[in-house]
């Protein structure tokens, strides 16, 4: 029996120690209703010098009535936007906690929205904070607001209770339809860490909706060198970028041929780039595109099948050249040519890669585009 007594005594001691730790709650557990779930973070340049207006979009309509089964939306607004000036640091986030009894919980944050003025001033320190925080995720999307991020986050979102979720899901799905390109924090930081690549971040602005209320619309791309925005691409120039970065799967192509206006939906578009470097520091890039397609509409005229195909291929080339010219004007390698050459021609890159932005205009491009539309 003496063995059993000793074991019971040991078990009781372990149980007491366990209960002591268990309810001492020094282990960082948080109850669900203590969470202030942040869905989106907006950063704007603040009136105060050196400060930043940080807007948190919090899911607020979650007051389940007593005995209500599965809670969720109750009456009233589904979210609250809360803006406070600060320096995007831990203490800045703590300011929010002082004003609401909930704890700021960032793990479900879906979107970073940067106001254009702040983007043009440089967002390096804030990106560094976002990278270090254990709750924030590198797969979160980034967006630049033409104007104020706070206003964009406040705008009504069609068919969605939460503007942030709507913007983030649109940014995820648009590249496939050729409307815009996606940029996550991971892509942005990878471009910053690269020697020569410039990040492209989708831009959104407020436009008047059918009922006069402002709604958010994607329009163009912002170009970043390092952590500073240096320019933009218009919506037309976006599809050229998507072609050159092999990001289009089924975009739309609109062109006129022999007096008729034709619209083709591209399907299974595939782009390959081939680099040939020269001793004088220049490089030739052969762009090969193979794409299927389906003619969606043909207005007027009786253009021939082959001429439609030729016109379509020419239109794709024009769009790419338009984007290339814009990038060369800004000396911004938004396509990743420099990284690609550095990887396949490292010796040449060590010699000529030093001033890549200046070298960009001297690149020569050749196009080999084959469009195979299905039924006409």
């Amino acid at each position: 029996m003496q063995n059993a007594e000793r074991k019971c005594r040991g078990f009781v001691a372990l149980l007491l120690v366990g209960l002591l730790f268990l309810f001492a709650a020094c282990n960082g557990s948080r109850e669900l209703y203590d969470l202030g779930i942040v869905l989106g973070i907006g950063l704007d340049r603040s009136a105060e010098e050196g400060a930043v207006d940080m807007t948190l979009q919090l899911a607020s309509g979650l007051q389940g009535e007593p005995g209500g089964g599965m809670g969720g939306l109750q009456s009233g607004e589904a979210f609250i936007n809360y803006t406070l000036p600060g320096d995007v640091s831990l203490s800045h986030f703590r300011q929010f906690k002082l004003r609401m009894q909930k704890e700021v919980y960032l793990a479900h944050n879906e979107l970073f929205v940067i106001g254009e003025p702040l983007a043009r001033a440089g967002i390096g320190p804030y990106i560094d904070f976002f990278l270090r925080d254990p709750e924030l995720r590198v797969s979160t999307n980034i967006l630049v607001a033409k104007g104020s991020a706070a206003e964009l986050l406040a705008a009504e979102a069609m068919l969605s209770e939460y503007p942030t979720l709507s913007l983030s899901q649109r940014e995820d799905s648009y590249p496939l339809s050729g409307a815009t390109s996606r940029c996550s924090l991971f892509d942005f930081v990878s471009a910053m860490a690269s020697e020569c690549r410039c990040a492209t971040v989708p831009m959104a602005e407020l436009q008047a909706g059918a009922d006069g209320e402002p709604i958010s619309v994607f329009n163009g791309l912002a170009i970043f060198r390092g952590d500073t925005m240096i320019g933009t691409l218009t919506q037309e120039e976006v599809s050229g970028l998507l072609f050159l970065t092999d990001a289009v799967r089924n975009g739309a192509l609109r062109f006129s041929v022999d007096g008729s206006v034709v619209e083709v939906e591209l399907q299974r578009s595939k782009t390959k780039l081939c680099y040939t470097v020269q001793e004088d520091g220049t490089a030739d890039i052969l762009v090969t595109i193979r794409s299927g397609g389906r003619i969606v509409s043909r207005a007027g005229g009786a253009a021939e099948r082959n001429s439609i195909i030729r016109a379509g291929e020419t239109r794709m080339q024009e769009e790419m050249l338009m984007t290339l010219r814009r990038a060369q004007e800004l000396h911004a390698d938004i396509f990743g040519f420099g990284d690609a050459i550095a990887k396949c021609e490292p010796d040449w890159w060590e010699v000529h890669g030093g001033n890549w932005e200046a070298n960009l205009p001297r690149l020569r491009f050749a196009f080999d585009i084959v469009l195979e539309p299905g039924e006409l």
Binding site: C26, N27, E135, V138, D172, A340, C344, P346
Partner: protein, 375 residues
């Protein structure tokens, strides 16, 4: 102790898990070569081959004996125990480093608001319990833990296929030769060399016909899994890989099954944590074996709790932060561990070959204690 025996095949699986655990989280053994990090795994294997042959020679010369018993046979009781103290110091130190690494990883990533002390205490109690269950039980669950971790790695490959860029391996072989040497040296001594802790446990291995084959297969599969893990870090993180403290964790954070399940890193970290706990346990078994041999204590159960407590205390004192641990591991550890992993066993084998006849007599006299040990 009664519940300590294991088979050569279980030893092979344990070695695979031990090696795979070393690189599952971090890759600072391979950080020096960035996109060529995969090469350091292969060079590490090459670099480790002579050390492995040294261990095989020792094990062949003294079948059924552990490292600490070999010391006493080759050097005599006094010096033998002195060398055992050196090995014990080494095992306790790398055990505390590994425990501190697991604790820092858990606090930095999974439980950000958890204090270090309760976490280390809880792990210490679990280690004591598993040690009490015996080496045989740990060897038996080895294949399950390894399969669980390898399965999670393969699944993450499938889920991250779209985010992998083969171009991230380029440009290849662009580093200075000393960097390749450093990386191979680090990988050989630390992630492979720490398997020295299995030598003391060989006394419990059931003699079998094929011993070398499962052991070599175990080491190669551990290296292969490490290679898969390092390649995944490069393929997914690309240029970011060198800047992240736990690249494997960041890779898991990028796994996205659908909009609903896009934060699954915790589920992919659990198998890796289980794997790393197994690695710490094997080090503990070596320490307890050493303590028992040093003080001549056959029933080691009373030693478990104080040994675990001592290692837990050292876990607090061994480093002041994870940054210092990384700097030590990349800069000094290859040479520091090299003394224990390579030089001491080499010294033991050399002295044995020189005094072979004298030592044969000692083995002859102790023949009866060998039956008693294996009973």
């Amino acid at each position: 102790m009664r519940n300590q025996s294991f088979t050569p095949r279980q030893l092979g699986v344990a070695l695979a898990a031990f090696i795979f655990a070393a690189n599952r989280f971090s890759s600072y053994y391979t950080e020096t070569l960035r996109q060529d990090a995969w090469l350091s795994v292969l060079l590490g294997l090459l670099f480790f081959a002579p050390i492995f042959l040294l261990y095989v020679a020792l094990a062949r010369e003294f079948p059924g004996k552990g490292l600490f018993q070999i010391n006493e046979i080759v050097f005599g009781k006094g010096i033998g125990k002195g060398i055992t103290v050196l090995y014990l110091f080494f095992f306790i130190l790398i055990n505390s480093m590994n425990q501190r690494y697991v604790a820092d990883f858990t606090v930095n990533t999974i439980l950000p608001e958890m204090a270090l002390a309760p976490l280390v205490f809880s792990m210490a109690i679990v280690f004591a319990w598993v040690l009490r269950c015996g080496l045989r039980a740990t060897m038996r669950i080895g294949w399950f833990v390894l399969l669980f971790a390898a399965g999670a790695l393969v699944l993450s490959y499938a889920l991250l296929a779209k985010q992998m860029q083969p171009a991230n391996f380029m440009p290849a072989f662009r580093h200075a030769p000393v960097r390749y040497l450093q990386s191979a040296h680090t990988n050989a001594i630390i992630s492979l060399g720490d398997m020295l802790c299995f030598l003391p446990l060989l006394r419990y291995m059931q003699p079998g016909k094929k011993v070398l084959r499962p052991v070599i297969i175990g080491i190669l599969s551990g290296a292969a899994l490490t290679l898969l893990c390092v390649c995944q870090n490069i393929l997914v993180l690309g240029v970011l890989e060198p800047y992240r403290l736990y690249p494997a964790y960041d890779v898991a954070r990028l796994i996205r099954i659908s909009d609903a399940f896009s934060r699954m890193e915790f589920l992919f970290t659990i198998p890796a944590l289980l794997l790393f706990t197994l690695r710490v346990l094997f080090l503990f078994f070596a320490i307890v074996e050493g303590m028992g041999q040093l003080f001549g204590i056959e029933d080691r159960r009373p030693l478990l709790l104080p040994t675990v407590g001592l290692c837990a205390a050292l876990t607090f004192l061994v480093v002041s932060g994870s940054g210092e641990l990384k700097a030590f591991t990349m800069g000094v550890a290859p040479f520091f561990s090299g003394f224990f992993v390579l030089l001491l066993p080499l010294l033991t084998l050399t002295v044995f070959l020189v005094r072979r006849n004298r030592v044969q007599e000692v083995i002859g006299n102790n023949a009866e204690c060998r039956e008693e040990v294996s009973a």
